[in-house]
C-alpha cells in the first residue's frame, strides 16, 4: 500500500505468475485492470472476481481480490448470486468469447435484463485458446481452425450488438494495445451503477489471426473519444456495433445517461419494506395453523 494509504496497482497483483503465452493480449488486460482498480481504490478483499474457464478466465487468480475460477460458461450466474447475497461487494466477471457467448451465451441476456450491478469483461480473441485453437463464436465466417479445417460456415456472434439488444446500459470496447483507453473504460464500467459490459479485443498470439495482433490494433484502432462520438443513444450504438469484426472502435459505445435502478438496489428496498412482516424464525411453522 502507498504511504498515504491509497491503493496502488501492485496492491491488486497476486503472487501467482501468469502462465499465458508470451505476447498474449490478456497480459495487457490484466495491467489495465490493476490500474483501473487502483484508481477506484476499493480494498481487494471487498472485490469478488468471478470467471469461467479459458486462458482469459485465469485472470482472477492474478489479482488479490477474492477470486472464483468457476466452470466454463457459468461465471455470470455465480456472480449474480454473489452480488445479491452481498450487494456491498464490488463484483467483476471476466472470461473469453467462448465462455461468454457460446456455452455461457444463454446467461447474458438475463444478467442484463435484471441489471445487476456487475462489470463483465470479455477477452475476445475469436478463438478457443485454452483448448488449443478451435473455432469460437466470434471467429469470422470462413475461419480455418482445427475444428473447421475447411473454413467455418456460420456467421459470428456480435457481442456488442447482442448486449445492446439485451438492454445493457453500459457497453464499451477496447484493446490492450491502448492501455490508457482500456484502463479508462474498465474504470468507467466498474463505476457505472448497473450491469456494464466491456468487450476487449485481446489477441491470442498462439492460435489467433496473425493479422489481428496488438500491433495491428495499435495501428488500426479508432478511438470514439477522438471522433467526438456521443454514447448516449442506444440506437446509434447499435448502428456502430455493426462494425464489429470489421473496424476496431474503442471507447464507450453506449452509456445510459439516466441509469435505472439496479436489481440489487430494488431487492434491498423490498427487503427493507417487508422486514416488518417477518416472524421470529422459529415461529415460521405457525404459518401452517389451519384456518
Amino acid at each position: 500500500m502507498h504511504a498515504s494509504g491509497a491503493l496502488e496497482a501492485k496492491d491488486y497483483k497476486s503472487d501467482l505468475k501468469p502462465i499465458w503465452c508470451p505476447g498474449c493480449g490478456d497480459f495487457g488486460v490484466l495491467s489495465a485492470l490493476y490500474r483501473a482498480l487502483a484508481n477506484i481504490g476499493r480494498s481487494p478483499h471487498e472485490i469478488a472476481f468471478v470467471s469461467g474457464i479459458g486462458c482469459s478466465s485465469r485472470i482472477p487468480g492474478y489479482t488479490t481480490a477474492y477470486g472464483f475460477n468457476s466452470v466454463h460458461g457459468r461465471a455470470l450466474p455465480i456472480a449474480q448470486g454473489i452480488k445479491l447475497a452481498n450487494p456491498d461487494l464490488l463484483v467483476l466477471v471476466a472470461g473469453g468469447d467462448g465462455d461468454g457467448f457460446s456455452i455461457g451465451g444463454g446467461h447474458v441476456p438475463h444478467a442484463i435484463r435484471r441489471n445487476i450491478d456487475i462489470t463483465y469483461i470479455v477477452m475476445d480473441n475469436q478463438i478457443y485458446g485454452l483448448t488449443k485453437g478451435q473455432l469460437s463464436p466470434t471467429s469470422p465466417r470462413g475461419t480455418h481452425t482445427v475444428t473447421s479445417p475447411e473454413g467455418s460456415l456460420e456467421d459470428p456472434v456480435n457481442p456488442l450488438l447482442y448486449v445492446l439488444g439485451y438492454g445493457a446500459h453500459f457497453v464499451a470496447q477496447s484493446t490492450p494495445a491502448d492501455q490508457i483507453g482500456l484502463t479508462a473504460v474498465i474504470e468507467e464500467a466498474i463505476r457505472f451503477p448497473g450491469f456494464a459490459f466491456v468487450n476487449v479485443q485481446s489477441p491470442c498470439v498462439t492460435f489467433g489471426d496473425p493479422n489481428q495482433q496488438l500491433k495491428a490494433h495499435k495501428e488500426g484502432l479508432k478511438s470514439l473519444a477522438k471522433i467526438n462520438y456521443d454514447p448516449s443513444h442506444r440506437v446509434k450504438a447499435m448502428a456502430l456495433a455493426q462494425t464489429y469484426g470489421k473496424d476496431l472502435y474503442t471507447g464507450v459505445f453506449y452509456r445510459n445517461p439516466n441509469p435505472p435502478p439496479t436489481f440489487d438496489s430494488l431487492v434491498r428496498e423490498r427487503q427493507r419494506h417487508m422486514a416488518p412482516q417477518a416472524m421470529p424464525r422459529e415461529k415460521i411453522l405457525d404459518t401452517f395453523l389451519p384456518h
Binding site: L16, S43, P44, H45, E46, I47, A48, V50, I53, P60, G61, T64, A65, Y66, G67, F68, N69, S70, V71, R74, L76, P77, I78, A79, Q80, G81, I82, K83, L84, A85, N86, D88, L89, G106, H107, P109, H110, V267, R270, Q271, M274, A275, P276, Q277, A278, R281, E282, I284, L285, D286, T287, F288, L289, P290, H291
Partner: protein, 596 residues
Amino acid sequence: MNSDLVVGMAGSGGDGIVSAGEALTASAASEGYHVIMTKSFGSQIRGGESSCRVRLATGPIFNSGGTLDVAVALNWDDFMKFGGELPVGGKTVVIYDAATGVEPNALPLVGVAPNEVFSVPIGDMAKRASGSDRGKNTVVLGLLAGWFGIAQEALLKGIRKRFAKKAAAVLAGAEQSFNAGMAYAAEHPLRHSRAIGRPDGGVASRRITDGNEICAAAAIYSGCEFFGGYPITPSTEIMQFLSREIWKYGGTLLQAEDEIAGIGAAVGASFAGKKSMTATSGPGMSLKTEIIGLASIAELPLVIVNVQRGGPSTGMPTKTEQSDLYQAVFSAHGDVVRPVLAPTNVADTFAVTVHAFNIAERFQTPVVVLSDQEIAQRKESFDPIDTSRLPCVQRRIPTAAELQEYQRFRLTDDGISPISCPGMAGGGYQGAGIEHNEAGSPTASGTMHLRMTEKRFHKFDALREYTDLFQVEGDPLADLALISWGSTAGICREALHMAREEGLRVKLLVPYLLYPVMEETYREFLVNVRAGFVVEQSYQGQLYRILRMYVDLPAEVQSCARAGANPFQPIEVVERLRDASLRLQRLYGETLQPRE
C-alpha cells in the same frame, strides 16, 4: 366408533372437489385429527378431472391409506379415470350425484358391488340451497360431516371464513348447502354407523401443510438467505413459498433462466457467505450436475432439494417415484461424495431440511435432500415441532490468527478448513473447480490431488455422529427386518404395525441419511436379522443396490421394489413378511423359537 376413515372424491375441474378436500383436511386438523390428504389431476391444466383422498384418524397415520371407506363421485367418468388411485371395496360407502343417472345397482365399478350406495341429488340440493350448482362440494362436506361425524363445527367455521368477504347471500347459500347435506345424512342413516371417534389427545389444533412448504419453512428457520431456482413440477411450491417469505428475512430469491443458473447463483451466494439453497426435480437435477461437482471441490455449503417424480427424462411429472437416488449419489463426474438425505413425511421434512443445512455448513459441502412427489405435495397434519432441539449450525470461519497466513483449503485433522468469504480482510483466496493446493492455487500434482481427495472424503467421517438420522422401530431382536426410505417408509411403518399385530416379529430401519452409507448402523441393525426387505419405489431397487456396495447383506434380505406411480400398500409388505417368515421357519426350524 371408527378410528380411521379414508375418503376419496372425484369430479371435474370446476366442481371444487379438491377444495372440499382441503376444507375437510383443515377442519379435521383444527379439531385435532391426524390427517393426510393427496390430490390428483388429469393431464389438463384446467377443466380436466380432479380428485383427492383424505385420510383422517384419531391417532397417528403414516400414509394416505388404501381402499376407500367412502367414495364420492360427482360424476362417474371422472371418478373412473383415477382407477387404482381411488380403489373401492365391498365395504366402501359410495356416494354419488343422482344427476349422473346411474342406478345404485349398476355402478360402473369393476369387480366390486359395495353394499352401501347412496345416490344423492347433490346438484339439485346445491341449486336449491345456494341458487347455483357451484355449491355441490359444500353439500358433499355436509354429507360427510353428517354421516361420519367429522368436524362439523370446524367445517362451518371454515365456510364462514372462506366466504367472509363475499356477499351475505353467498355465505348464506354456502351454509345452507352444508346444512342440506347434514340434513340429508340425518334422514338417510348408514346401515352400520361409521362415525369416527374423537382424536386421541384432545382437540388441540394440529398444524397442516405439505412437504414442499414445510421444506421452504425449514430453510427460513435455518437462516437460508438465498434461493436460486427454476420452476419444475413437483418442486415449484418450495420456490413459491420462499418468493413470499424470504425477503422478510433479508434474503433474496432469484428465479433464474434455467436450473444451471439457479444453482450457479446459489453457489455464488454461498461463496459470498450466505446459507443458500436450490430446489428442483429430476430433469433439473440432471442439469445441475456439473455445478454440484463444482460446489463439492470448491467446498461450498449448499442445500439442493430434489423432489422426485416418475422418470426417466420428462417421465411422469405428477407421479411419485424414488428413482433419483442413483443420480443424487453418483451423478457428478470424478471422485466425489456428498451427503444425501431423505424425509419420509411432511413433518420430518422440517427436521431433515434443517439437518441438511447444518451438514452443508459444517462440512462445507452440497447436500441433497431427496423428497418425493407423494410427500412434497400431500397435505398432512403434524404436531408442534420443538425447534429448540434443532439448533442451527454456522460455518467455521477463520479466526483472526488463522487469517494471518490464511489457507482456504488447509489440510486439517478433521478435513474441515476454516472458510472465509469476500468482505473478510485477509481471507482472500481463489475458489475453483480446478484441483488446487492448500492455498487454493491450481495444481496438476497427483500427490496434491490425492491429498485433497482424501480430505474431501475423510471430512465426512464425522457423519457417524448423526445417529438421529436413523430410526429403528419394532422388536430389536426380530429376525425379520424392513429397511425403507422416503415416502415408502410411511407404508412400511404401517406395515410394521400390522405385521406385529399379526404376531410377526419385525423391525424397521428408516435411514434419513442415505449416503454415505453408514456401514456400522446397518451391520448393527442386521446382526440378528435372517430375512427381510429393502422396500422402495423404484424399478431397480436403488437403495438395496447401494447398500450392497458397502454392506454384506444376508442373502435373505432382498429388494422389494417396483416402478413408480402405484405406491405399495402396507398389506403387500405384510404379505411379503408373512412369506419370509414361513420361508425362514422352513429353513431354520427350531432356531426360530422365542428366545427368552
